[in-house]
């Protein structure tokens, strides 16, 4: 990993695998087939750092987040947080671990209970974990939290429907920070928001990380957003990690053909560059995870796939200090600034 200091990782994900059963019909064995949503994924998250997880829809990035939080029980693998394997914990032990792990959801409309006031919503983590002192003290800290996320503390007794999308996401952030946890899993926190509001929320997350020293697992499909907020970035495709590295190296010198295609597919808001740069446009759609391709899962769409790729899955190799890539033909593909040269 690119972490130069020998700091202990806050979270270690080792060979995480999550399979979902698929019903195969009335006759025959039920649950004969499995969708392997996440397959053998390993990475570390360090304290006070942001780990970005990018990929297209259905690649298993949210499932990874949910497995770490143990909202889903992993089929295989370990999730070591604070020295404990979250994957094996019992319900009571989980509660203690989750105190230090919070979640910010994508949909600011669905993730807040419409029948609770925002004061109740934000103080709920304190109530559950019996922290934050007396009721009056809790109200005080909720007010301060509201102030922190840029909402008016006088609105403490309002209901979620009285707020706009961006404001609701701020409420979600206040709730996640209520216990100042060590890790916050942000699952597409800005993708439902307008550009100008998105920038506000990103800045807020950035600033709060600096102030509270929280680590983020930042899950998103927008490469520019992930680049902006992350220290390290991992690229997922069909349940597999394809490449990970610190953000600079990944965006400047992607080794994996999928990362290269993904980066070149993002339109750059600059017509001259956008219209002249060379792009790799991938053909077809991602295959179904019920029946993933053998070998490298990307080979069906890969422009440089060979026989070898169809047979065996490439291992994750260190191609450069701190830069890992799972490809038989990994080679740097410098993307200077944002233009792509082939």
């Amino acid at each position: 990993m690119a972490n130069t200091t020998k700091e202990q990782p806050l979270l270690q994900v080792k060979h995480l695998t999550k399979e979902f059963p698929v019903e195969s019909g009335v006759f025959g064995s039920r649950f004969a087939k499995h969708v392997s949503a996440v397959d053998d994924v390993s990475f570390n998250i360090y304290p006070r750092k942001t780990f970005g997880l990018v990929g297209e829809s259905g690649c298993g990035k949210s499932t990874t987040g949910r497995c770490i939080m143990r909202l889903l029980r992993p089929t295989k693998g370990e999730v070591i947080f604070d020295g404990q394997d979250v994957a094996q914990l019992k319900k009571k032990e989980l509660k203690a671990v989750r105190r230090n792990m919070q979640y910010i959801f994508q949909d600011p409309y669905a993730s807040l209970n419409p029948r609770m006031t925002i004061g109740e919503i934000i103080s709920e983590p304190m109530v559950i974990h019996n922290e934050g002192g007396s009721r009056a003290e809790r109200i005080e800290s909720v007010k301060k939290l509201l102030d922190v996320v840029g909402l008016n503390p006088e609105h403490i007794n309002r209901y979620p429907h009285e707020f706009s999308g961006g404001q609701r996401q701020r409420i979600g952030i206040a709730r996640a920070f209520a216990l100042s946890p060590k890790l916050i899993i942000c699952d597409e926190p800005v993708s439902a928001l307008d550009v100008s509001i998105q920038a506000q929320v990103l800045n807020l997350l950035d600033g709060l990380q600096e102030a509270f020293g929280t680590a983020y697992l930042f899950i998103a499909h927008d490469l520019s957003v992930v680049q902006h907020i992350s220290d390290e970035v991992a690229v997922m495709y069909l349940g597999n990690l394809m490449e990970y590295s610190d953000w600079r190296s990944l965006y400047a010198e992607p080794y994996h053909p999928y990362t290269q295609a993904l980066l070149s597919a993002v339109p750059v808001p600059n017509p001259d560059i956008q219209k002249t740069r060379e792009r790799i446009i991938l053909a077809g759609d991602p295959p179904s995870p019920i029946n993933p391709p053998k070998g490298c899962r990307f080979h069906t769409r890969c422009p440089i796939a060979t026989e070898e790729c169809k047979k065996e899955r490439p291992p994750m190799k260190e191609v450069e200090a701190g830069h890992f890539c799972a490809c038989w033909h990994a080679k740097p593909f410098p993307i200077e600034g944002s233009s792509v040269e082939l």
Binding site: D147, G166, V195, Q200, L202, L282, D285, S338
Partner: protein, 407 residues
């Protein structure tokens, strides 16, 4: 053909003839003039579209950019005559298609135009396609209605169209239902459907927003290919400045129901003159490979359209707003090239020079240089609030430990 049938087809034939005619001199393919569409609701009058003007010619692509609720979609729907009236009401302006007013057409005449002359692609292909009809039948529907194709002819043409938009195995896939298609394929089918009658104008309402980036790249490429072949005009509605940079010749930036800036793609990206456009550009994270620069978001929220702020509607969020901006509505400032903006200061060269983000077209090195004022992620008030929260958290923790010790 029987007389009755011919009568039924009358409007469609007329609309079809209209496509072949030469555009009268001095007229454009499409001209929107000071269009106003208000909704009369219980809460008051919603000025969803308030004075939109532009022109569009063949082979041109107009990008309409703005945040949700800025009136981008309503403008398109008004042109298509798809707004239910009431509650909607056209309060002024006109839409001229080849010199003919679309707004004064009867519903029957509009039926001839829709799909035939002006077609639309919607954001969500799953809800725009009918789940109980096959793709082939839906593709051919326009052909049967507008051109009087038989079922067989329509299906054959549908096959051709599906092949044209890059769906493999088209002769089999026309028999499929929408749920058997992937998201990208559904959007391709929608494009095929929109192109079925060879329309003059294609209105695409956020056609790639629901799609992944790699699929988005495919769809944009397809749309460009189709335009090169059919020479139609495209109105691309989106919130993504990147998509617009890719495809648009002209760009209209909308805010609170109004176009705040309009110009060629070059003018909007390299010489923007409205503070809202600047704000949008500063809000997008850029793909940098050296240093990360903090984003400069636009403060506050977009206004409610029932209660549009007095004066310039952007003034409450504008960092440069003066007392005059909050009182008076700024006039339209127009340059010779047709680049226009609704801001008091757009004509002030020194002001624009000083405050606009500079996107340089440094294609040679491929780097995009944008100057941004360095700024801390948290502003002062938030930083103070954070400090206060930390102190109080420390205090409660201390009292908690005391209590536990005592206990």
């Amino acid at each position: 053909m029987k007389k009755k049938e011919q009568e039924k087809l009358q409007h469609h034939i007329e609309a079809h003839e209209l496509k072949k005619k030469k555009i009268p001199k001095g007229k454009h393919l499409l001209e929107v003039k000071d269009l106003k569409m208000y909704f009369h609701t219980q809460d008051g009058i919603v000025k969803a579209v308030d004075g939109v003007s532009y022109t569009l010619d063949k082979d041109e692509t107009l990008g309409v950019v703005g945040e949700s609720g800025s009136g981008k979609s309503v403008t398109a729907m008004t042109i298509m005559g798809l707004i239910e009236m009431p509650p909607g009401q056209i309060e002024g302006g006109d839409v001229l298609y080849r010199g003919k007013s679309l707004l004064s057409m009867t519903e029957k005449e509009m039926q001839g135009i829709r799909g035939n002359n002006i077609a639309m692609i919607f954001q969500d292909p799953m809800t725009a396609l009918n789940p109980v009809y096959t793709i082939g039948r839906q593709l051919g529907e326009g052909l049967r209605v507008h051109m009087g194709y038989s079922r067989k002819q329509a299906l054959a043409r549908a096959e051709e169209l599906l092949g044209m938009v890059g769906i493999p195995n088209a002769e089999q896939r026309v028999k499929d239902y929408p749920h058997q298609f992937s998201g990208g394929m559904r959007q391709r089918a929608m494009i095929a459907m929109a192109l079925a009658c060879d329309p003059d104008i294609l209105i695409a309402d956020e056609p790639t927003t629901a799609l992944d980036v790699t699929i988005q790249a495919q769809i944009i490429e397809l749309m460009q290919e189709m335009q090169d072949k059919n020479h139609n005009a495209i109105i691309m509605i989106t919130h993504d400045l990147g998509v617009v940079a890719d495809i648009a010749d002209k760009i209209m930036v909308m805010y609170a129901g109004r176009p705040v800036e309009f110009g060629t793609a070059d003018e909007i990206f390299y010489n923007p003159i409205h503070p809202y456009t600047w704000g949008l550009m500063r809000s997008i994270p850029e793909q940098a490979t050296e240093e990360k620069k903090p984003l400069t978001p636009i403060s506050g929220n977009p206004p409610s359209l029932v209660n549009v702020p007095k004066g310039c509607s952007f003034s409450p969020r504008c960092p440069y707003a003066t007392a005059r901006c909050k009182e008076e509505e700024p006039p339209v400032y127009k340059t010779e090239s047709g680049h226009y903006s609704r801001c008091f200061f757009s004509g002030d060269k020194a002001f624009v020079e000083k405050n606009s983000p500079r996107t340089t077209r440094d294609v040679a090195t491929g780097t995009r240089k944008k100057e941004r004022k360095p700024q801390a992620a948290l502003d002062d008030t938030t930083a103070r609030a954070v400090q206060a929260l930390k102190e109080s958290q420390a205090a409660t923790e201390a009292s908690n430990t005391k209590q536990t010790k005592r206990g």
